[in-house]
């Protein structure tokens, strides 16, 4: 089981209570470190940025990314929830890097339900918050009294199913790709292990990883938009 979530450290708090640090956490730290270094570089470089000059290089790429993301966000979640944009932007950056990091042989953090569940739950909290903030009465009514009172449990189940489906979608896709590649590396003959996995990596890590990150963000944003507006 090369793809199991290994525990690599154990923090003893008392004799009986301890904290296990898993691969997922380590991968998360690596992703965090990469993002943090990148962000610090951007922050340092951003001192020289001038709005009146033509952007170039890193600035251009970042501006394009932020602009495109903003357009996507405002198109799906509306203007009212614009203050959540940084959160989803960070989530997008984190998820893409997490899904793509499998290429270099590090276990993707998102191939663990313990990672995708909190992210999905945070999205759940955010879209419930969006609904309750923008139209409290109508939103509560849409959950508890629509179409009639008897459907309330079904509606509640539907709301709870959203983060579960979100987390399982990301987790299942990334884990499936990872298991397939692990099986290939563990079981395929040596001759097949040189060029052939590159294509599988291209699909399972690059294409599917970016796509799943996009879908996760897109669905979260859409849920926020649906909750916030009529």
């Amino acid at each position: 089981m090369e793809f199991a979530i290994r525990v690599f450290a154990r923090l003893n708090i008392t004799d009986n209570i301890y904290l296990l640090i898993t691969d997922t956490t380590r991968s998360t730290w690596i992703v965090m470190a990469i993002l943090l270094v990148f962000a610090i570089i951007v922050r340092i470089k951003s001192r020289n940025w001038d709005a009146s000059k033509k952007p170039s290089g890193l600035q251009n790429v970042l501006e394009m990314a932020v602009d495109a993301f903003e357009k996507l966000y405002k198109g799906n979640a509306g203007e009212k929830m614009a203050f959540l944009m940084p959160w989803f932007f960070s989530l997008f950056a984190f998820l893409i890097l997490s899904n793509l990091i499998g290429i270099v042989g590090i276990r993707p953090p998102t191939a663990d339900w313990g990672m995708t569940l909190p992210l999905a739950v945070s999205s759940f909290v955010l879209f419930q918050f969006a609904g309750l903030k923008n139209r409290p009465k109508a939103y509560l009514k849409s959950i508890f009294l629509e179409p009639v009172f008897l459907f309330a449990p079904i509606n509640i189940m539907g709301e709870i199913a959203k983060p579960i489906a979100l987390s399982f979608r990301l987790f299942g896709n990334v884990l499936g790709g990872m298991i397939l590649l692990s099986l290939l590396y563990g079981m395929a003959p040596l001759a097949l292990q040189f060029v052939f996995p590159a294509f599988l990596h291209m699909y399972f890590d690059l294409a599917a990883g970016a796509l799943q990150a996009f879908i996760f963000i897109m669905l979260s944003i859409t849920f926020v938009g649906l909750a916030a507006e009529e």
Binding site: V7, Q59, M115
Partner: protein, 194 residues
Amino acid sequence: MNPQLFFLATTTDIFETGRSLFSLDAQTFIDAGMNMFNFILVAAFLTWLLYKPVKKVLAARAERIENDLASAAANNLSAQELKAEYEQKVSEIEKERVSILDDARKQANEKRHQILDEAKADAQDIKARASKDIAMETAQMKSAVVNAIVDISTDMAARLISTSIDKSAHDKLFTEAMEELEATTAFKADAVAI
């Protein structure tokens, strides 16, 4: 770990074999909490260090473009006004030009007519004077011819009286007189032709 507490649980020692891929045990939820904390940290840092500067530059650029657009619109408006003003001026100048041209034409026409009239009057004058001169000369000529005829007749009569009358002399005298007369009438005819 108590299997009754979590509804799916592994009894294997988690530290020996690694955490199970999927289980609803305490470790999963502790991991989830840790990951959530990590991600909130990431989100805060990314927002502060990456998103805000980019957003600031974008906002500054948007503002600058807005200002440029506004000033361009203002410039455009003033240019339009100037253009309308100049067009009006040009049309006024055109009108003035046409009126000046018309005036000039009218004046020239009047002048032409006046000059023509004067010329006609002059010509009339000259003609009248000339015809008057001619008439006067004709009259003079007539009186001269009459005088000549009278002179010749007198002369002839004097000769007839003074000289002896013979047939041949008489004829000769008559012929001379006739020639003289013819010469004067030819002269008169010339004068009339003139």
